[in-house]
Assembly symmetry: D2
Homo-oligomer: 366 residues x 4
């Protein structure tokens, strides 16, 4: 497979450049009978949409999704679901100054080394705009997981630069433009972002995604461990440089007696594992963190080279996110949902006929 497809049984294949005609995706393998409308998908797309606050790029895209196939009389039919988002904001812009330059920390240079050519308009395929179709596909997975299995996939911003959240109130997540679950941190984030904008700089962020009510047994125990696939899926999001499951890097300094999540008939006593043991879901909440690097499109000049190998100074003008992490929560949710959906079907395929005599341990002691 050639890298624009994710999944084994529930697969998503995407296409589209930032300033091309349209973005699209094909979701294949979706079980039949799921109630699905464009509005269901649009909700998540709107959460990711640029231009919704002063802290994100001011590029305005409606990101209106159309379902082209695979849904009949309001329900999925089991055949592939084609989706399309037309690019409406393709400004007829002059790219002559950037087409021969490589912006530092962008994919410009590596695309040229890989393909010998690149679509330089707005980053082309390497633009974060590509993630719109991930969100669209993920929203289908989320809906199936919720409707058929009660699984919920949610996320929040857990750190913005130096500002760490100290509490999680799910109700707060959609009350501010940062997806921040700790209302007490929002003013600080606002000030921080305003200062940053003035400087023309950008900042990194950390996102946490959580899946609740996941049945035990999902995941393949060797190379396709559930955590390995989650790491793959999350690390494949633009700008992500690190992924943790459960305690993550905190495990390095933990002792075994501290890390191991003891079990009782009333439930697990802790969740350092982040809901996955031996690559297989345990029934506890699946918890993952991802680190996003600061945007590389800055108003501060940087040293670089051009296609001829000459030294140049690069400065980015125009509309850019000063913190890509801010809009990344719906993308991370989408990717986690895609992994779970795929493994739900894989589990059903191999072990669907299995009769379990082992009782299920509650996710945690109430």
């Amino acid at each position: 497979m050639s890298g624009n497809t994710y999944g084994k049984l529930f697969t998503v294949t995407t296409f589209g450049e930032s300033h091309g005609v349209a973005l699209g995706a094909i979701v294949d393998g979706c079980p039949p009978g799921l109630e699905l409308t464009e509005a269901d998908i649009q909700i998540d797309l709107d959460r990711r949409k640029p231009g919704t606050s002063r802290y994100t790029t001011q590029r305005r895209e409606e990101d209106a999704v159309k379902i082209l196939s695979g849904v009949f009389e309001g329900k999925t039919t089991g055949t592939p679901i084609g989706m399309l988002i037309e690019n409406t904001d393709q400004r007829s812009k002059d790219y002559s100054n950037i087409k021969d330059q490589f912006r530092p920390a962008h994919a410009d240079y590596t695309y040229m080394q890989k393909y010998g050519v690149r679509d330089y308009r707005g980053g082309g395929r390497s633009s974060a705009r590509e993630t719109a179709m991930r969100v669209a596909a993920g929203s289908i997975a989320k809906k199936y997981l919720k409707d058929f299995h009660g699984i919920e996939v949610r996320g929040y911003l857990s750190q913005l630069g130096p500002i760490k959240i100290e509490s999680v109130d799910w109700d707060q997540v959609h009350q501010n433009p940062f997806f921040c679950p700790d209302a007490s941190k929002v003013p600080e984030m606002e000030s921080f972002m305003q200062a940053l904008n003035k400087e023309g700089d950008s900042i990194g962020a950390k996102i946490t995604v959580v899946a609740t009510n996941v049945p035990p047994g999902l995941g393949e125990p060797i190379f396709d461990r559930l955590d390995a696939e989650i790491a793959h899926a999350l690390m494949s999001i633009n700008a992500v440089k690190g992924v943790e499951i459960g305690e993550g890097f905190g495990c390095v300094a933990q002792r075994g007696s501290q890390h191991r999540d003891e079990m009782t008939p009333e439930g697990f006593l802790s969740n350092n594992a982040g809901g996955i043991l031996g690559g297989i879901s345990s029934g506890q909440d699946i918890i993952a963190n991802l680190a996003l690097k600061p945007t590389s499109s800055l108003h501060i000049p940087g040293r670089s080279v051009d296609v001829h190998g000459n030294a140049v100074e690069v400065i980015t003008k125009g509309r850019h996110d000063p913190c890509v992490g801010i809009r990344a929560t719906p993308i991370a949710e989408a990717m986690l949902a895609l992994v779970l959906m795929d493994h739900l079907l894989r589990q059903r395929g191999q072990n669907g006929a299995v009769k379990h005599s082992v009782p299920v341990i509650p996710a945690s002691v109430k």
Copy 2:
């Protein structure tokens, strides 16, 4: 694919249980013409082998690998390479006390929930013993990368519990049983491990793997980004709970002006990216960290449940690694090599005929 295969073009499929007849692997897609003997593979297997120091399990396995196919007159032929390691230390042990119990933080419970059955002898398929075949397969990839492209894949222990290394001297890595590149930390590690053994506890660790001389252009820019595949491969190793590329979670608090690796005709000025931009190798060193949780087999009793749902107290007897991280360096190297090998072939497949006019920027300014 069903989870025991890794790779798209250069694939590894493994089988084998900890206390079964044998472990084996099939490496498929290896280019012809690589000089290969069993001795080449044995070197890496011996580095991973248990029982080599007092800080690892005292289980003694020769781990002698046999090549069964795919090599003719000392060279690979392009056909699949079958490999076998017989299990020689299958003690006829009494498992009656653990067969109905779930050890906390092990895969016992999740295997039962997935399959409805499990091979309880020594952890069965979930044992870290499975990684022997990863090391064997990885050594073939490492040799091809080295012989044909001069790419080198190496790793070291960068943190043992609270003890962080402060310098990297590659020559030191094989001078101590920890794969520690900082000789000054070795005595501290020794004392720490001795104390830990007395307490019957275990500890986490951090490993760093580095690939040098990687050509720019490897990786698929969307779902199969090179960093996403590395995250997948490393997170698929037993006990790994976190993966970072380059600065990793350090990016969260970085500013864009600080993170972006500026480029000059003389070379990149820094390597926060860890050698990957937009999911594609940049020609800089590829650097990844992985966090390993502390072993869960402890001499300290823990609360758990049995297959009937009753509360039980579990205590592990016998031979176990107090820090799985110590032997994990060769495994991490193997997985990184497998990813690079696969993407080298994928790149050749799609873009092998590409003529590049863009000059290559040196990995760093000398």
Copy 3:
């Protein structure tokens, strides 16, 4: 993978129902640098298009393809190529009489058994209309094979019901609506089809596809033999019930001394193998035949059942191909081209660095 994707490195994923909003495809893995316009693709689509003669369905679809991504400044970029064909002839038709019936020899019954639901409008996903996107994707493969390797993929109708061609003149193929390479048979075919139309019946056909100038070495020798993949690809076309390579079923009565294609330095002396030995291309012409069943949409009533299990009489009204084989030649060419393209990239991936000392034997003695 979930069945709507073909290929390993050069992949095609399609979506779309006969009477849905649109048909689409994503071609992934295409090498960069191929000159490509919508007109290049439209040529093959027009060859497959319905309504071009009185011997095919009178449904009129423009089948105008749009390229949505992956092409920049007239050349492919290496990123996925999104393509779309809008359905313009979605007559607002009354389906109430067929929605609860299963037409004999159609996919109605099996779709219901598989998915529990189906889009009954015009056959939905099971309609031959789906093959339009195969033709579009195949035309990209054909162009790359031709432009970069001089490989040509062509086909013709070799039998229409009882009428077998007796000679192959490639110049004749496009001079008649049957893709018949033997001009002397065309009047007979015309009379036959006219009689058939009057009776409301349909007829089977045989198509032959040929690839010339294929380099030796393409194909994987075990499960993904080049012939096995061609069989897969051709048998996946609607209505195909048989595939032959070279002599095909003629081999059953052949002796080894007769079948084996002897080789001389001046070339192969015969081509019973159809250009493939041990699953790998030999450099001779690749030749395959496919058998297409007669259309099942007849004006002659047939016995069937409805969704409740009751006996019903079914009769098809409206526009249908009396011989699906007539329009199948471009589809068969497309599928053969997709197989060759995929294996060209696979061969480059694994063996791209191979230096050959063995001289190439000419395809045939001149």
Copy 4:
């Protein structure tokens, strides 16, 4: 994937050369709970084994299979099943006369063109000996299909050179060395083979495989149609040059009114489709034919070339099957079983939760 693996969910990966150390396979994705012993597999291996009659090669291989993993306490565990057959008859032979020659109609020349090297001992990987592991893997699939779903996969020789069977008595198939279901034809086959042996020539054959009691709904409707996958699987067997489903090439001359299998509440009235409609099983018997070319290893000299491009005369000495078709029945059964097993799991994965309201039509009117 690199061509030595078959299947998506139930996968088989094989290795091994004709005169190497051993043959092996890994069966991955097998559901847990299947009762399985080496004896279950050995039955089918013995049916394929050479040297069982005077009409097959006199090479004697015990083909004794060992199960190395994936089975515990007599049942599959869901983890990969490793299997091994050691090569016991590796005669220390002098290959100097054939190592530089290409035998006509063999894979010698194409392997060299693909890989630049080949293992010339007994055909290496291209030897039909490779099919032993297909039979071993297939026997696991056959057992699961039978034990859990009552599906039976069987085959017979339907034509030997000019001799066609005229009736099918399943009880006869194992009463003669030809797998011939028509006892009246056996003496004719014996005479024919004896004459052929004297001449040093070989002959083609046709095999028919049938699966009964297959539930409706298996297969993916576009590229991975059940018939397309069967064609792939059967065409991937050494020497196969043609595959038919149901009426196959007979469809070319059929009319629609004759071909369509009418349905009644009491059952289907005919089975021209061979049990597959729109790529999905209908519940009728799945019927496929395969054509096998005559063996190319003849005692009659043939013209060829050597590795330097010089003309040579080639003659095969030693032990060879004069009709590869004779031993091909168990191989064809194995491949059909693998396809069905894979699609059974795929169907369960996507549509396992589907509730069907549509009644099942009996396979045929009793």
